[in-house]
Symmetry: C2
Subunit: 393 residues, 2 copies
Amino acid sequence: MRSVAVVGAGQSKFGRRNDARLDELAWESVKQAMDDAGIVQNDIDSFVVSTVGGWSAELLPAVFVGEYCGLEPKPTMRVEAACASGSAAIYQAYSSIASGLADVVAVVGVEKMTESPTSVAVELIGRAGNYFWEFENFGMTFPGYYALYATAYLSKYGATEKDLAEIAIKNHYYGSMNPKAQFQKKVNLDEVMSSKYVAWPLKLLDCSPITDGSAAVILASEKMARKLTKDPIWIRGIGAASGTANMSLREDFVGLKAARLAAKSAYQRAGFDGDPKKLDLAEVHDCFTIAELLAYEDLGFSRKGGGFKMAREGQTYKGGVLPVNLSGGLKAKGHPIGATGVSMVGEVTRQLKSQIKGDRQADIRNGWGLVHNIGGTGHYAYVTLLSQDKGGQ
Amino acid sequence: MRSVAVVGAGQSKFGRRNDARLDELAWESVKQAMDDAGIVQNDIDSFVVSTVGGWSAELLPAVFVGEYCGLEPKPTMRVEAACASGSAAIYQAYSSIASGLADVVAVVGVEKMTESPTSVAVELIGRAGNYFWEFENFGMTFPGYYALYATAYLSKYGATEKDLAEIAIKNHYYGSMNPKAQFQKKVNLDEVMSSKYVAWPLKLLDCSPITDGSAAVILASEKMARKLTKDPIWIRGIGAASGTANMSLREDFVGLKAARLAAKSAYQRAGFDGDPKKLDLAEVHDCFTIAELLAYEDLGFSRKGGGFKMAREGQTYKGGVLPVNLSGGLKAKGHPIGATGVSMVGEVTRQLKSQIKGDRQADIRNGWGLVHNIGGTGHYAYVTLLSQDKGGQ
């Protein structure tokens, strides 16, 4: 299998982007990623578009984006795995290059969620489970799904709403330093704890927002990566797994089995022993604060039931065991669902290259980083390990 | 790059399938494909789901299908490339195996179009171009797009509506022998010519129908294929390309550039010289009769402007230069859009193994077959070459 590197990354400003159409929004990232890689459209063999859609009237987002970005007539497809679509698209690009079918592939994640009225967006996201049994018959909403996990977790392990709040506070703290984040402001414990309940015990400030945005990365074969850059960031392994559509079929509500399986597979493929101290940073899927907490345990950063203590002790700030979501996470950076996974890989790439301005740049010691990207409530899980050049491929 | 074979194929009855939900419909094909390959779910490493969706309320079709088919917790994603989604999903599975990331991958194409009222389905399909400029501002419909091509072609080359009708007659003739086809009845010239105009010069019997259905194939690495079957059908090459979203940017309306590029790439990858006489059969994308005619030329079966003579002379019946759409094609077999490409590859596989009952079985001489699958009006194009074992890999 051929080695694959990230050789370029770009991201648009996240937030309410009434100033740009879907294709224009995509171009902001594609242009940055091509410039970062030092390439033009002609150097790209194919492109993969990650978008969940449903908010927009465009039925064929991949070709719509491709035409505007000057990528037509290159081969393309759209990939969807709910909020993990970005990672799934990267998996598709990665396997194309690893197989030898392509040398340079662009991955473009883009979502314009505010094209729908908020009530429609909330309904669409609410369908991210088993529509008939859960949404239609029992009125489940997306925050409601994660609230099930939060109540089970808090009850079983004695964690508190304040522990969840600590995750929001941390992610807003780092988001305040990220000029591309949707929310560039800190929040304090009082603000989180007094924000209104969305689905008990999750409050407004436990939830990631509805976001417009795009992200792009350029992946390349080893030969092309060596030509293009002195500091390729290698994809050392991608693991994936799926969960049941029906929540009623889940084994428990204190962790996501799909995430554990995806991590196991990624660690195996990357030859990574799972020791969080060997990672310099992780971007994890904090669509809700509880989701980040579950991630600590599903990824093996802490023992089962111990994740909330990491949050309580501030162990996922810089200087702790492992800095998590130095981008601000989905919580503060924003969550344009098809773009999220691509943005996470772009962030870890730039972090490993020490390209981040200001205090949210991680200390790079071992040169390894991790991306954890979940679709639905553990319906899809993708875990990706990236590393610097050292130690070779 | 590792060799990849089709080791199992299945297809549901196509038509109006009010008797089955989306997941149940998918299972009909998955079960057949697994039985055909002699495997069970545990033997499958990952699965890819091809569905365009929009008709159904289910937001996460891949996990919904995966749970019902017993494929959870295996890695999955949904792939979409409009009506070429099935081929794009096969491309994704193919690259996973070719790279060494997986050994056995299931590809499931499924679509339940009749869940929407026909008027909604027609609107959704009508958006398969550039929504704002073409659908919203100029009222283009999907038959309208292909009618542009038909008028340009008939006008430039002197072909007639009767030549288009010959394609419908042929495909209904073969569809009449396919127990899984939506329309199992022959049509004659009078019936086609007197059917009502949908978008001049295309009449009702020039158009493929709205269809529910599923298809599945199991792909395997060479090592696994050798274990599982004595007659693997090898994927010798897949080529793909995209077209402009805006029709106004097309170079001409007498062929699909994306199809020509996809064919060129597939032929190159497969080491195929393009001589149609070396193929035993082809399944081509006849969403409208004009589309099959353009395919003859885009694939090099005839010279530019000569395709209609192949139809007029019956050269794409068995016994002619190259039998095309012995399944009945999209026209008679039906066109459940996400399932179509998967069904085409399954059909060519079964044909190359001489497993078809009755007179629609091709004469297998060279052991090669071709699949041509188009998304939108040449917005996406995928061409796949398959062959028997002989000549080796």
